[in-house]
């Protein structure tokens, strides 16, 4: 997978966590996986289609997700409350939205679909038979995982490139 396409997602997650958790986050692990993905906490996925196609899963350990939800709601939130998956879903929307905006600024065209909260079973299906890059970020409230699966369509890019005539 091209690292220059992944870098915007890393920068975006870092920025979103800094803004919403008010705490530093650092990458502690990077792995490639072809097996089904095992959810670590609450996970939401955003799909995009176009010159780059794929999906990104944001997976947050319960304490990390609950901390952000607590901060926003102004009261202690338990990790089992409905606001927690809603929080992870919106964070996924922000991370992927910011990243694809950077890629769009570099000339890539695609459409982004609304975030979807994933069950454990959906997570396992989402990573099967394809190689995903999984980044683990450490925060003071628990780990946050970003599972990135995407492919770059060279042919579509060539088809869209300007053709010189004459």
């Amino acid at each position: 997978m091209r690292m220059d396409l992944i870098q915007p997602f890393i920068g975006s997650l870092d920025a979103v966590l800094a803004e919403t958790m008010h705490a530093p986050a650092k990458i502690v692990d990077l792995t490639m996986e072809e097996e089904g993905y095992r959810r670590k906490g609450t996970a939401a996925s955003v799909t995009f289609k176009g010159q780059i196609e794929g999906r990104v899963i944001l997976d947050m350990e319960p304490r990390a997700a609950a901390q952000i939800a607590s901060y926003i709601s102004g009261a202690d939130v338990d990790s089992s409350e409905p606001i927690v998956p809603e929080t992870v879903s919106e964070l996924a929307n922000m991370v992927i939205g910011n990243a694809v905006t950077q890629l769009n600024d570099r000339g890539f065209q695609f459409k982004v679909f609304p975030p979807e909260v994933l069950t454990e079973e959906q997570c396992a299906q989402a990573g099967r038979d394809s190689e995903a890059t999984i980044l683990c970020f450490e925060t003071p409230s628990g780990n946050v995982h970003l599972n990135i699966l995407m492919c770059y369509h060279r042919r579509r890019s060539r088809e869209r490139a300007p053709v010189s005539v004459g």
């Binding site: 920025a15 979103v16 803004e19 919403t20 939800a69 926003i72 709601s73 102004g74 606001i83 809603e86 929080t87 879903s89 919106e90 964070l91 929307n93 922000m94 992927i96 939205g97 910011n98 694809v100 905006t101 769009n104 600024d105 982004v112 609304p114």
Partner: protein, 149 residues
């Protein structure tokens, strides 16, 4: 959350009234918390463009904070319909996707400003202050990716 000097309406010095439109409950709560720290009053919320139109007519807010990607009717179409009925509507687009095409389309339909998520309270405060006094075009200090018409 940091408290800001309260923004008030010029005409009667009352609290600025907001309508928040976003399909994410989290995003609505987050924005509500911010505008309350600006001294604002939330008069309505909507989770899609259709509801936003009826809520606008019902509440006649001073400022609308409008997401772009939403079910049923997207934010840009809602802006067009609200502005067609209420040409003085002050609508600020709030979206995580900051494509130039989206921003331009929203501004052309009548939105006053754009701010990208995650929203920084200082940037939103400056934008709202500007939009409330808006008669020209400027870019507020501290805003990273905001565009005004």
């Amino acid at each position: 959350m940091k408290q800001f000097e309260a923004l008030t309406r010029k005409k009667d010095s009352q609290a600025v009234r907001y309508l928040i439109v976003d399909d994410s409950v989290f995003a609505r709560k987050s924005l509500a918390k911010m505008v309350e720290s600006f001294g604002g009053q939330i008069v309505g919320e909507a989770g899609d463009g259709c509801t936003a139109i009826t809520e606008y007519a019902r509440t006649n807010p001073d400022i609308v904070l409008m997401d772009i990607t939403m079910p049923q009717m997207e934010g840009i179409e809602a802006v067009e319909r609200i502005v067609a009925e209420h040409p003085d509507a002050r609508i600020v687009m709030v979206s995580s996707v900051g494509y130039q095409d989206n921003i331009l389309a929203a501004l052309q339909k009548g939105a006053r400003h754009f701010v990208q998520k995650p929203v920084k309270p200082d940037a939103l405060y400056e934008i709202i202050r500007y939009v409330l006094n808006d008669d020209g075009v400027t870019t507020p200090v501290g805003a990273e990716r905001e565009t005004s018409r």
